[in-house]
């Protein structure tokens, strides 16, 4: 890539910082330069986020339809998979799969609910109702 070809588009990272890229000058010598972002990249990131928004909305609908417990919703909201939920809560993956069923969720003890709430960075009340008071 030549210096004059370094993309200087807008992107999410641009709010925070420019990024270092390596490019050649007219004599073919490399040096490090700064880029504000690349539209090809920011579109890929936007697409990933659209997908995430869909997954969150789907999960919420499943909870409202009583097909899943709020754990599914918060797992998607916090961009987690079952492995990450397991790592933060200390529960086995298999156990979490059970707790994603609404009937099993309703029987959870306060202590276990608190473990989930902590993992998702919400209160137990928010966990149960999906009504969030922060962002």
């Amino acid at each position: 890539m030549k210096k004059e070809e370094i993309p200087q588009d807008d992107g999410a990272l641009n709010k925070l910082t420019k990024e270092v890229v390596y490019a050649v000058d007219k004599d073919g010598n490399y040096s490090s330069e700064l880029s504000t972002g690349w539209e090809v990249k920011s579109t890929a990131l936007n697409l990933a986020w659209n997908d995430i928004e869909h997954r969150i909305a789907d999960a919420k609908q499943k909870v409202l339809n009583n097909e899943a417990s709020p754990i599914l919703y918060f797992m998607e909201l916090r961009l987690m998979d079952i492995g990450i939920v397991a790592a933060y809560t200390g529960f086995w993956k298999w156990t979490i799969k059970q707790h994603i069923k609404p009937t099993a969720f309703k029987k959870l003890s306060d202590k276990k609910l608190q473990q989930y709430a902590d993992a998702f960075n919400v209160s137990v009340e928010e966990l149960k109702t999906m009504n969030m008071h922060d962002n």
Binding site: M1, L13, E19, V21, Y22, Y30, D51, I84, A87
Partner: protein, 338 residues
């Protein structure tokens, strides 16, 4: 308490931390490209059966931590590295290092990294930063992807150091144990070793998932994505490929340019003209990776999307595989002792 420290911005976090810590440990002439090349940082692998963020698991670089480890080994700089079972012990140890004036490399997760934009905060646990001091209860942070140094509260730093999930950092810290004088001769040997190892990793690993064969393998898979996954999911997969390729902290096309820069800088130590010629081949590979990203973007934006467009995309990777194979074969033929 602050240690004597100068922030350094880099294209990639581990390169940046390695370069910065080792410059102050005696390798004064170390640069980001040299650290990347000596650490044999260039790689490619598509892991089968594994999904990351519901897409393909592709890496354009070597395993986290190895660039630092290999570069220190090659330059004969001893390393201290420690993980912690408790947050308290992790904090206590870090604070002691800072009191002693020792800047410390830290592995962290980015999900709770407050200064990152929300769009970048996934559960990625192999980010690297340097903690170089503490002022008014806040840790002073040199994050190589940032233009300037920043800071985190005690709680914020603890949360990212003890993030959980794959590659959980468990508070891991690392730093060079002592200052050593690194001679030009040591640099020459380190460069040679780094190149030889990278040749092995890119063209001599058996199987079809790693190295240049892995690139072609992904190319062949892409041609089947439209039928196999449907246009929507195939688009997401391509977007994931581009994100893994170009995003901060990974950078596939970007890594090829860093490697090309490494070969140019190596020529200052080892004046063999092949290094400059092969550097140009890596520039070509980097340019092709970028073209491939533009093609992928055409598909995931919905501007194009016929089977022929997927074939073009797949062929880009197959072509890149050939270019990089040629480059590494040429590197493998260099006679270092003549």
């Amino acid at each position: 308490m602050t240690t004597e420290f100068k922030h350094l911005q880099a294209a990639h976090c581990e390169n940046g931390v390695t370069t910065n810590l080792l410059q102050s440990a005696g390798a004064e002439k170390l640069t980001e490209p040299l650290a990347f090349g000596i650490g044999s940082g260039l790689f490619y692998v598509q892991l089968p059966f594994l999904k990351i963020n519901n897409g393909p698991a592709i890496a354009f670089r070597t395993m986290p931590g190895l660039i630092f480890k290999r570069t220190c080994n090659a330059l004969n700089i001893p390393v201290f590295r420690k993980k912690f079972s408790s947050k308290e012990a992790g904090k206590k140890y870090l604070d002691e290092c800072l009191i002693n004036g020792q800047p410390v490399g830290c592995q962290v997760g980015v999900y709770y990294l407050t200064y990152f934009p929300k769009e970048y905060r996934f559960h990625f646990n192999a980010h690297n930063m340097i903690v170089f001091g503490k002022e008014d209860g806040r840790y002073l942070i040199s994050d190589p992807v940032m233009e300037t140094a920043t800071s985190l509260s005690e709680y914020e730093l603890e949360r990212v150091r003890f993030a959980k999930g794959a590659f959980a950092p468990r508070g891991q810290i690392y730093y060079p144990k002592e200052k050593k004088i690194v001679t030009d001769d040591q640099m020459r040997k380190a460069i040679e070793k780094g190149i030889k190892r990278n040749v092995n990793h890119m063209i001599r690993i058996p199987g079809s998932i790693a190295g240049v064969k892995g690139i072609a393998g992904t190319g062949k898979k892409i041609k089947k994505w439209k039928d196999k996954l449907g246009p929507q999911k195939a688009g997401l997969y391509l977007a994931q490929l581009v994100r893994m390729q170009e995003e901060i902290g990974t950078g596939g096309g970007g890594f090829r340019y860093i490697y090309a820069a490494f070969l140019q800088q190596s020529h200052d130590y080892i004046p063999k003209d092949e290094l400059l010629d092969i550097s140009k081949i890596f520039t070509e590979a980097g340019d092709k990776w970028r073209n491939a990203a533009v093609q992928a973007a055409g598909i995931y934006k919905g501007r194009i999307g016929s089977q022929a467009d997927y074939d073009v995309m797949g062929d880009y990777l197959i072509e890149i595989s050939e270019i990089e194979k040629k480059a590494f074969q040429a590197l493998g033929k260099i006679k270092w002792n003549s």
